[in-house]
């Protein structure tokens, strides 16, 4: 059996001994772990004493009362987050207020138990927090082993995949129950909305395929001399119907061939994603310009637009998976939230750099710079 250290910080001896008693013979087991887990309770009566104990032997979990005689629980929480961010903290407090809850979550408390609590309530909280502790430990271990399992990614992904299914299911049920009357014409809006959700789910799946291709590194990359101008032109042709529909003028400013050693699928992904974003997040009578240039040491791709732009504080979030910057201008744009994180992965693969310049309301410019150190170095990177 694996034993987890839990530090209980409370000035009431009764609470401390109560928790010790409840957890003494309590064990939990999870399907993903072979061993059962037991608990070893360490007690502290004040925040100061708790900090001493944490410095000496860092426990896995801290149950922390907020109302303490000396320093407050929230201060102990702050100390833990600054010095021992691995420790999971659960606040126990009778001074339960949502404000404290929100404040404590913001500075890193994992969960709360309101006082008074029943043994069962405490046990189920401990079970949850322990599960989190072990899942996190497993995730780290997998990361260390280089396995590409990412729980958080999968969680968000399942949410993103379920949302459109729920929406379409909702519309189908409304039609099945003839909620809007007998005439099929009354349901056209439902059908259009369902089709739009299905289309966006399809896009998400296509993007996921791109992402897994890049991630797995298994796909055969064929590095050969390709003409980037040709790739850009084909991406622009693909995007032209959407651009016409949105009243956006698309133009490729480079006419002469720009030759670089690269995989043509990778380059297609870059141009397709950047140009389609530039078209989607644009304005009526807007424009998108694409250019490519080559010097002795680098190749530069530039896609600029006259679109809605990006707030400075949103720029660091752009390349994270499933980030879709939400604002009134972008709310009607559909996207998987994966496009730019895919672009970033390709860019990293080639040892290239991506820069974003943007002015809200005026437009954005994405610049990708590939170093040209000679073909040997490039081959090493891929």
């Amino acid at each position: 059996m694996e034993v987890v250290d839990i530090l209980v910080v409370d000035d009431e001896p009764g609470i401390r001994s109560g928790i010790t008693r409840i957890l003494r013979n309590f064990t939990v087991s999870y399907p993903f772990l072979e061993d059962d887990i037991g608990f070893n309770v360490i007690e502290a009566a004040t925040g100061e004493e708790a900090i001493d104990i944490i410095k000496r032997s860092s426990p896995a979990i801290v149950l922390l009362d907020n109302k303490l005689p000396g320093i407050q629980g929230v201060e102990v929480l702050q100390f833990i987050n600054q010095n021992h961010p691995d420790i999971l903290v659960m606040m126990i407090t009778s001074y339960a207020s949502l404000e404290l809850a929100v404040r404590a979550t913001n500075i890193g408390a994992y969960d709360f138990v309101p006082k008074p609590f029943t043994p069962q309530e405490l046990k189920s909280s401990i079970e949850n927090i322990t599960k989190h502790y072990f899942l996190r430990r497993m995730t780290r271990k997998l990361h260390r082993e280089g396995k590409q399992v990412r729980f958080q990614f999968l969680t968000v992904l399942s949410h993103e995949l379920k949302a459109p299914l729920n929406a379409v299911e909702g519309y189908l049920k409304m039609m099945q129950e003839k909620q809007a009357g007998e005439s099929i014409d009354s349901y056209m809006d439902f059908i259009d909305r369902s089709l739009a959700r299905i289309q966006s789910m399809r896009n998400l799946i296509m993007d996921l395929l791109d992402l897994t291709h890049i991630e797995s590194g298994k796909r055969q990359r064929t590095l050969r001399e390709i003409d980037l101008t040709l790739v850009a032109r084909s991406a622009i042709e693909t995007m032209t119907p959407l651009a016409i529909q949105r009243d956006v003028n698309l133009c490729l400013q480079t006419t002469e061939p720009v030759i670089m050693l690269a995989d043509s699928d990778d380059m297609e992904i870059l141009f397709n994603n950047l140009i389609s974003n530039a078209v989607k997040y644009n304005k009526p009578s807007g424009w998108v310009k694409c250019s490519i240039c080559k010097t002795a040491s680098e190749v530069t791709l530039v896609v600029s637009d006259s679109g809605i732009g990006i707030e400075p504080e949103d720029i660091p979030k752009l390349f994270q998976e499933f980030t879709r910057i939400k604002n009134p201008q972008s709310k009607n744009v559909t996207g998987s939230g994966l496009g730019l994180s895919i672009v970033k992965r390709v860019v990293d693969l080639y040892g290239a750099r991506i820069d974003v310049q943007s002015e809200p309301g005026a437009g954005s410019t994405f610049t990708i710079t590939f170093p040209l150190p000679g073909s040997d170095t490039l081959n090493d990177g891929i």
Binding site: D111, H159, A167
Partner: protein, 131 residues
């Protein structure tokens, strides 16, 4: 009905969920006001006191629904709040309302899983409105 129509505020960032819920709730005979974010809802609440609110939990942030519920209760303590969520079916790793003590902690009048049948929802609304 003789009494004047009741107004229900629905807040959800999924426009289709919002559309469907609005459709169902209007069919029940209520007036509906909708918002797609915590921020938009807060602006509406400055001008309108709904008779009941149905809030999504995860919007701009994963606890937007809680915060909105808290703010709404501070402005209008007598307005019942339903928090609709799809999170409890997920991993349980995030700030959720999966356990009983969390339900006690966060002051909403009712938690509902998304995907509840309209007639069940109707019953819950009537119960909360005490009609």
């Amino acid at each position: 009905m003789a009494s004047s129509r009741k107004t229900i505020l629905i807040v959800d960032d999924d426009t289709d969920y919002l559309f469907q819920l609005k459709f169902h709730v209007e069919k029940m005979g209520f007036d509906v006001v909708t918002a797609e974010s915590q921020r938009e809802a807060e602006n509406i609440l400055k001008n309108i006191k709904p008779d009941l609110a149905i809030l999504d939990l995860m919007m701009e942030n994963e606890d937007s629904g809680f915060i909105l519920s808290y703010k709404l209760k501070r402005m209008y303590p007598d307005v019942p709040v339903i928090i609709a969520t799809a999170v409890s079916a997920e991993t349980g790793m995030s700030f959720g309302i999966s356990s009983e003590q969390e339900r006690q902690w966060i002051k909403a009048d009712l938690y509902l899983e998304k995907g509840i049948r309209p007639d069940q929802l109707h019953r819950e609304i009537l119960k909360l409105l005490k009609v």
